[in-house]
């Protein structure tokens, strides 16, 4: 069983099946959540909207291909709009035991570059997500506690708290998450720095696609900046025929 848990990914959806075994404690709930969302591959289009404090909206569109999941996944993300970023592509190779490797392809200078995000609190290309928010976290590096139960949009949920065992593991002091009891989909994440809530993520528009319950809409709010980012997936398909050779730096250079 993988020890990694995806807090959030634009590329991962949560697998839904009614619980075979009702989870009794926090680690078990997390493990079950991971198991249900697993898929060998997928592709989708996406729209990313950043709404700043003044209500201005910037929008980008992309196409995502992913192979594997939970710590061993490889993803290629190509921007398709607006024109100023069209063609820019990002390759993310996740590893089970260390931070992901990332490369970016910039067609205008015909060059790939390695992106080494060392400060994981850095915002992901102007969105309200940080790079850490998009990482597949190692479950084992957190102490999980079941705080009780609650409801999100009327759906009964388990309320869990994750605290990093070591300070350097996360920019956050703690994360509260709500996992729906009916489909094991994480629907709300609240990230705290000390006792201050700094970011909140809501997942909604949950649909069952090829047997996997998948949230179609993510909304991350940065409470300090008073801005939010909405991510919508479109045309999502699981189990598409993809191979390792499609996820290399050479493949990154090949525009579709």
């Amino acid at each position: 069983m993988s020890r990694r848990f995806l807090v959030l990914s634009a590329f991962i959806c949560v697998h839904l099946r009614f619980p075979l075994l009702p989870a009794q404690d926090a680690p078990a709930i997390i493990e079950e959540t991971q198991r249900r969302s697993r898929a060998p591959s997928r592709r989708n289009d996406g729209v990313l909207q950043v709404i700043d404090a003044r209500g201005r909206i910037t929008e980008k569109r992309w196409q995502v291909h992913q192979l594997g999941s939970y710590g061993n996944s490889k993803t290629i993300l190509r921007f398709t709009a607006p024109p100023e970023v069209k063609g820019v592509a990002l390759l993310v190779v996740n590893h089970p035991d260390r931070s992901s490797d990332q490369w970016m392809w910039t067609p205008a200078i015909a060059r790939e570059r390695r992106i080494a995000i060392q400060d994981r609190a850095t915002r992901f290309f102007g969105t309200d997500f940080t790079f850490e928010d998009l990482e597949e976290r190692d479950v084992g590096q957190f102490d999980w506690k079941l705080l009780g139960e609650g409801a999100v949009d009327g759906a009964p949920c388990w309320r869990l708290e994750g605290r990093p065992k070591e300070k350097k593991v996360s920019q956050y002091t703690s994360t509260l998450l709500w996992i729906r009891k009916d489909n094991y989909v994480g629907v709300r994440y609240e990230n705290y720095k000390k006792d201050q809530l700094v970011r909140r993520l809501n997942l909604s528009d949950i649909e069952r696609i090829q047997g996997i319950w998948t949230p179609r809409r993510w909304e991350m709010s940065d409470l300090a900046r008073n801005s939010r980012t909405i991510l919508r997936t479109e045309n999502l398909q699981y189990n598409v025929p993809l191979k390792d050779a499609d996820f290399t730096v050479q493949a990154l250079r090949r525009e579709p």
Binding site: T58, E84, M104, T106, R113, Q118, G126
Partner: protein, 849 residues
């Protein structure tokens, strides 16, 4: 204090002009000292500030000299557990293309991580740029400029900014304007930010970075991180704090700073003589006054204190004026120093603020006051020794300035012997400079005796020119040698310095010409930057093939020059195809066999070093030297030493293959182009420009243009000697005016009697003029003679401090030019005193007869 107010002030007020001239002596010394130091410090400060501002919160920087290193090194550094953040940087200086705006420092950074170290505070920007580095990275024409630069050039968001890149002129788009403060004040605001990968392309860097800026992980000390990275990367990489980047700049400025110190010292020394002279006048003129004071009960100590107090006040006033003038001088020459550094080393740094350091100002004031008091010591002592009875006896003058003593001559001789001994047993810098100082002291002590002897020799000549006036003038000099000796000594020292610097300039020009003839003999030079020392832009090596296809070109030599640290000094590496070099260049070999050295160097089995490098680091033929390079430690023997003026810090010539292997850098700075017989350089130049027009930034210099460029740099360096010549002329005027005033005061009775027995005003004037000319001539003769010895020392200083090895060549042309200049200045200085002599009251002059 009361004495100063009652006695000194009325006298000063009466002789205001002379007092001002005296203060001018100190002012000049302090001004040269303050001006040159301030200019130097301002350029250095501007450099440090630029480094610090650009560094942001960078704690350590990884570099492999100015050459850069492959991109892969970044991953190694980022993976080090001691490192929290590491970001790559390319720094390049490009012509802003805007009239009067100079160069633009372009910082190529990776925006995805750079904000962890640098704060980009935008006053206006495309929102997507501010928030989203993706847009900035996706569009390689993106450039961010500072508010200052935008304001000066009327740039706004989305304005187009043309820059001459390695691919020809390209239009960049201003996508962000940074708010003033912090980073933006670096390089005087002429700063722009680009994406690092776009910068690689623009500046022809291939897949190399210039340096890595990094911050250390919490809980890890700088020293721990430094040690870990040094171990990880090997000796070819420097892991230093941003502040230590200034060390290279400082070491380059060291030679210049040394020349400044010597000049300042001379200026102060000469100022001292002027003060001495002025106080000698004052004591002479105020003898009756001193006699009265003594008769009224003033002690010798009080008289001495009175004169020393006057000198202190004068020194203070002169120093204060010198501070102000020095600041003006600094403003004038800071730009010149920056220009010289830019031309010689490709280090462009403009000093935006030229302000004197308060500590330097305090030191200058103290030095000015102390120098003034030291200079007044002997006149003050003489004043204290005035016999009140003799001073008050009408018609009896106690002539203090007459006479010459044997003890001084013996002391001079002894100092001369010690100086020569120190020079002979020259074991270290202390012995060398000690010998130098003693030689100067010996010459100064000997000046009165030599002045008398020379005056005697001159007497018949002067008599022949003007029988009465000439004889009187010569007699005046012979009878009171100490009266004139201060001025003669000041002139002598000043001219000796001029001869020293002039000799260096002459030898340098001669040697430079010889070097240019032998080394810089290609017909054309194809360079990536207008300034040959600017290594911001580089060519890819494969450009040689394309260049070779231009009709008329017989042979091309690829040259890559780069500054690397060698034994803690930045020296120049010159890498080229040694076989081609051997065929084309006949260097002056100082050590080693020419054929053998080229054979071994071409095989990559040896290095050829410049004579100045060998001298500066005591390198011997056959000695193995080590140079740390990114690919490891290059260890090769010295197979030859040649005379090579490529760099003031020294040059190491190696085969290109060795360089590429050790520095992993295949780029080229300059293509040396040899033409086929009969090919027209102008035509080939035009063809090269046409062939690469629009897609390659390049400059083609003809041999003549390159010669002019090298000589222009040399001229900038030797501009210092022109300052020295100006100081010498000023000294001549000031000193001679003072001396003649003393002379006329001393000889008032004699001149009065002369007029009374029928001497014409014309003759009196003529006497004063002849005396002035004679003083000028004495100073010239002794100065040119001492200059001959001084030149030896200056050449030695140049070798010791700057590794500048030059042949001894006395600057005869300069000496010939000095003759009319100094004599003209002497005559000019004599005009006012001569008028004063003929217009003085005859009754007063003969009052006691």
């Amino acid at each position: 204090m009361i004495l100063l107010r009652l006695i000194s002030w009325p006298y000063t007020r009466k002789h205001l002009l002379r007092s001002l001239l005296t203060a001018a002596g100190i002012m000049l010394g302090v001004a040269v000292f303050v001006g040159m130091h301030t200019a130097n410090q301002s350029v250095l400060f501007a450099f440090h500030r630029t480094v610090n501002r650009i560094a942001g919160s960078t704690e350590l920087q990884v570099a492999a000299t100015e050459i850069g290193f492959p991109e892969e090194v970044l991953e190694i550094v980022q993976a080090a557990p001691e490192v929290r953040v590491a970001v790559p940087v390319i720094e390049a200086v490009a012509d802003s293309g805007r009239q009067g705006q100079g160069n633009l420092l372009i910082l190529g950074v990776d925006m995805t991580g750079d904000r962890s170290l640098r704060d980009y505070d935008f006053e206006s920007a495309d929102e997507s740029i501010v928030d989203d580095p993706l847009v900035f990275l996706a569009q390689p024409d993106s450039i961010i400029v500072t508010g200052e630069f935008a304001g000066r050039n009327g740039l706004r968001l989305n304005s187009r900014l043309p820059l001459l890149t390695m691919e020809g002129e390209k239009q960049f788009t201003v996508r962000g304007i940074m708010r003033s403060g912090g980073l933006t004040s670096a390089f005087g605001g002429n700063l722009a930010i680009m994406d690092i990968y776009a910068a690689q392309k623009v500046f022809g860097r291939g897949r190399m970075f210039d340096r890595i800026d990094l911050a250390v992980r919490d809980g890890v000390s700088l020293e721990q991180c430094q040690a870990a990275l040094r171990k990880l990367l090997g000796p070819g990489y420097q892991v230093e704090t941003p502040a230590s980047r200034g060390q290279q700049f400082e070491s380059i400025l060291r030679v210049y700073a040394f020349a400044i110190r010597i000049n300042s010292l001379f200026a102060l020394f000469i100022g001292m003589f002027i003060i001495y002279n002025s106080f000698a006048i004052a004591v002479t003129e105020r003898r009756p006054e001193i006699g009265i004071l003594r008769a009224l009960g003033a002690t010798r100590g009080q008289i001495r204190t009175l004169f020393l107090g006057e000198s202190a006040i004068l020194g203070l006033l002169g120093s204060a004026a010198g501070l102000a003038l020095g600041n003006l001088i600094a403003r004038g020459i800071a730009g010149q120093i920056a220009g010289m550094l830019d031309a010689m080393y490709g280090l462009a740094e403009r000093a935006q603020e030229v302000a004197t350091d308060p500590r330097l100002a305090a030191a200058a004031l103290a030095v000015g006051v102390v120098t003034s008091m030291i200079a007044a010591l002997i006149p003050a002592r003489n004043a204290a020794r005035v016999d009140p009875v003799r001073a008050l006896q009408k018609g009896k003058y106690q002539v203090l300035s007459a006479g010459e003593n044997r003890a001084r001559r013996l002391a001079a001789l002894a100092l001369g012997v010690v100086s020569a001994s120190l020079l002979l047993w020259n074991r270290n810098a202390w012995m060398f400079y000690g010998g130098y100082i003693l030689l100067v002291a010996s010459a100064v002590l000997l000046t009165p005796a030599l002045a008398v002897w020379l005056s005697r020799c001159l007497r018949p000549v002067l008599r022949r020119l003007l029988p009465v006036e000439g004889a009187l003038a010569a007699d005046s000099l012979i009878q009171a040698p100490r009266r004139t000796s201060a001025t003669v000594a000041a002139l002598m020292l000043s001219l000796a310095m001029v001869v020293g610097l002039g000799g260096v300039a002459r030898a340098s020009v001669g040697s430079l010409h010889e070097w240019i003839d032998t080394h810089l003999n290609p017909d054309l030079f194809v360079t990536a930057a207008e300034n040959l020392n600017d290594r911001s832009f580089r060519f890819p090596a494969d450009m040689a093939g394309e260049l070779q296809r231009v009709t008329g070109i017989a042979e091309i030599q690829m040259v890559r020059t780069a500054r690397v640290p060698f034994r803690r000094t930045p020296v120049l590496i010159v890498s080229t195809d040694i076989q081609v070099l051997e065929r084309r260049v006949r260097a002056r070999v100082i050590a080693g066999d020419e054929t053998e050295m080229h054979r071994l160097a071409a095989l990559g089995e040896g290095l050829i070093v410049s004579e100045n490098l060998a001298s500066l680091h005591n390198l011997r033929l056959g000695e193995s030297v080590e140079i740390a390079a990114p690919a490891g430690l290059l260890r090769l023997p010295i197979v030859g030493v040649t005379r090579d003026y490529s760099d003031q810090q020294g040059a190491i010539l190696m085969d290109r293959a060795v360089y590429v292997r050790y520095w992993k850098d295949p780029t080229v700075n300059v293509f040396r182009v040899y033409l086929e017989p009969g090919a027209s350089p102008e035509q080939v130049k035009r063809m090269i420009l046409e062939r690469f027009a629009g897609h390659r930034r390049l400059f083609v210099l003809s041999n003549l243009e390159l010669r002019a460029y090298v000589m222009r740099i040399a001229d900038q360096w030797f501009a210092l000697s022109y300052v020295q010549i100006a100081v010498a002329l000023l000294i001549a005027v000031l000193g001679i005016v003072n001396t003649l005033t003393v002379s006329i005061t001393d000889r008032r009775r004699e001149l009065g009697v002369l007029q009374a027995v029928g001497g014409l005003r014309r003759q009196i004037r003529g006497t004063v003029w002849m005396e002035a000319l004679a003083i000028g001539l004495l100073g010239l003769i002794l100065g040119l003679a001492l200059g001959a010895v001084n030149l030896l020392y200056v050449l030695e200083v140049g070798r010791h401090e700057g590794g500048l090895i030059l042949d001894y060549q006395y600057p005869y042309a300069m000496a010939l030019l000095l003759l009319p200049a100094i004599l003209g200045a002497a005559l000019l200085a004599a005009l006012a005193p001569a008028e004063s002599a003929v217009r003085g009251s005859l009754v007063e002059a003969l009052e006691y007869e």
